[in-house]
Assembly symmetry: C2
Homo-oligomer: 411 residues x 2
């Protein structure tokens, strides 16, 4: 079963916002055995919507559209779909009541524009949007399904989970899609590919191998589309098992778990705790851990010690060390990690201190220089990394390196 | 001048990664006067690449493709393009030497797969990738340009900035695209639209208005495509000027500046400083500020006080207050903000303490309850907000509310 995802909105085409909706829908469809053939982003433009919908229906049984359902004039998706399916709009009392209730809770008067949001095409099934004022819509035509959802991410997500997927799994006979990912460490993509070439050559035809490189890590993904899940999972297990003998020292973990998820699981399982002291990463490491449900079981404290004074006052770094070695140094990285460990009472601590740029670099310590410190129950050390040249790149790489280094200590 | 962006990679279609490349390219093209007509993501599939390229060339003068240029077998973009343009591959000595140098710096042996990366189609202009091993490619056909870039974000970004844009601006005669955004506060989208309906009605035909709602904020964007920039900017200024009389109390700022950018600029201009104390937002607020170049001028310290002990030991919150009122309370939010201000010596401090879920909610304090504290040079207060039901939504809303509340105090 194939699907096409269409996101509508000039804000996507001009790059004003990042399209996270497509990813959520892709993941969810895949998890239910529906292959995403294509994702397309287009503007709030009638002709373009119609042409893209025509093409999507010619190549897939399911079309999911997000965006363009707001109460204002720039949002034309509903009217365009109503016309496309040769229908007319009707006033839906249930939706109107729901919208009125939502607005009253926020002390907002129900007006003509909100009344417009309660108008739905006669021919569609209304998908109730419990978390917002724009209802979703489900259209059917010649055995194919077109679904229109609001673009606000969490409204869209609830509609996908609670209204769309139960209907799609009931409506179509779906097979399974299996993706399994092995995370490798400390081996370059080209060397890895050479090392496992014979293994790759001998993979069954229906298993697709992909290499996904990232700083310090290459993920190997095996995918199989529209298959019998259990059988294929067993085959993938046995294929990955073989890799244990080919690259025994380079396997970090499995599945799509990010390295922070792996650390999260280890710490929870072992009942151990973590603190972080960040300078150049500015809270990014703490965010990665605390974004995960259950992080409070092990994440005790983070300190974003941006100023030298806060490194000393909060973390107990010696000002004399900063003066002698510089804030970006092995000594300070170690003292920060040690300090975070002490003030929080955690078992492990990570620290970062570096030059995120664009200014502040010197010949000896150019922009991108980052010292990463790790304190464990029995040692404390720091490693210097070159994390690139661009501020956001430096922050994200230093974050990835630091978490990977902690993982290396834990596993 | 129209462009189509094509991102290639099964990892996008299955939702394993978020496509940030399309956004970067969209923004950059817009800034140079090139209209992005469509963005499409497809798989590593020869037929699909060819069909999508055909369609892109029929609707736009410029096609930018990212992804599928790695050294391994799953990456087929280069071979497919070489075939599409009826060319053959040649070995590029310059690129080979560059790849060899990059690998040697990482102690990696140059192998056959790397040799393959130095092969380029005869008919293309090579775009030198100073930051990676996969060169970019520039093809021309019947006055149209097809550009292929690697998918690694920072490699792609450098190629766009340093190789692609200088060539595109030299190759085509480009007009200007103007986007200007006004940020409104404290007024619901439907009410706002009603209030400014007459103004909207009277806008010149070539100005397109878009409403972009977010928690607590509605952005109004005026866009004009392929125009004379200066003249249109003046017109937009005068249109926005009129809004000052229609919604005088609801205008927060201008441009695409996020609220954290507005705060960043105010603090730098005034020489004032900031500290944050985060519980449920877990470092997200600190990250938002420190991601901005120059943040070290005002951002002194952040504390992610996840455990009650760290709230007390690091921030000086009284354990008796936590016991009496709970960690998620007005008293603790205020004490956290005050504590962050004191330990850092900052002029302003923000704090958050809430229940990010999925567990930990009670009837009085359900998941999503967040207290946000603000300490200024002369007062300290806290406000209770309901930030939703989903962990990532709660973190991002609480972050947005907290930064908006600080902005409200500063402006």
């Amino acid at each position: 079963m194939k699907a096409t995802i269409i996101t509508i909105g000039d804000e996507i085409l001009i790059g004003q916002i990042l399209d996270t909706n497509s990813r959520y829908i892709s993941r969810t469809l895949n998890a239910h055995g529906i292959v995403v053939a294509e994702r397309t982003s287009i503007g709030d433009n009638r002709t373009q919507i119609v042409e893209t919908l025509d093409r999507a229906l010619s190549q897939s049984e399911i079309v999911i559209i997000t965006g363009g359902l707001g109460p204002t004039k720039d949002d034309i998706t509903k009217h365009t779909l109503c016309e496309y399916f040769g229908s007319t709009l009707r006033y839906d009392e249930v939706e109107a009541k729901h919208i009125r209730t939502l607005l009253e809770a926020r002390n907002i008067v129900f007006n003509d524009l909100n009344r417009g949001q309660a108008m739905v095409p006669e021919c569609c099934t209304v998908l109730h949007n419990a978390h917002g004022t724009a209802p979703g819509m489900w259209f059917e035509q010649e055995g194919r399904v077109v679904i229109s959802l609001p673009g606000v991410p969490f409204e869209m997500q609830h509609l996908i989970d609670e209204e769309v997927m139960p209907r799609l799994t009931a409506r179509f006979e779906l097979r399974e899609i299996i993706h399994r990912t092995m995370i490798t460490f400390g081996i370059a993509e080209s060397i890895l590919a050479e090392r496992i070439a014979a293994w790759e050559e001998a993979l069954p035809e229906y298993l697709h191998l992909a290499y996904l490189p990232a700083p310090n890590v290459v993920r190997l993904r095996l995918s199989a589309y529209e298959v019998e899940g259990k059988e294929v999972s067993r085959e993938i297990d046995s294929q990955f098992e073989k890799l244990h003998t080919i690259i025994p020292d380079n396997i970090a973990g499995f599945e799509d778990a990010s390295v922070e998820e792996l650390v999260h699981n280890i710490l929870i399982n072992r009942g151990q705790t973590l603190a972080v002291a960040e300078s150049c990463t500015g809270g990014a490491i703490a965010s990665k851990f605390t974004a995960q449900a259950g992080a409070s079981a092990y994440f005790l404290c983070g300190v974003v010690s941006y100023s030298n004074e806060s490194k000393c006052n909060v973390l107990g770094v010696q000002m004399s060390d900063i003066e002698q070695y510089g804030a970006v140094s092995e000594q300070v990285a170690k003292a920060m990690a040690q300090g975070a460990k002490v003030i929080s009472g955690a078992n492990f601590a990570i620290s970062t201190t570096g030059i995120a740029g664009p200014t502040g670099g010197t010949k000896e310590k150019p922009v991108g220089t980052v010292w990463i410190g790790i304190a464990t129950p029995d040692k404390c050390f720091a490693v210097r990394k070159n994390c690139g040249t661009d501020r956001s790149q430096i922050i994200s790489r230093a974050t990835a390196y630091a978490i990977a280094m902690l993982y290396d200590e834990l596993k």
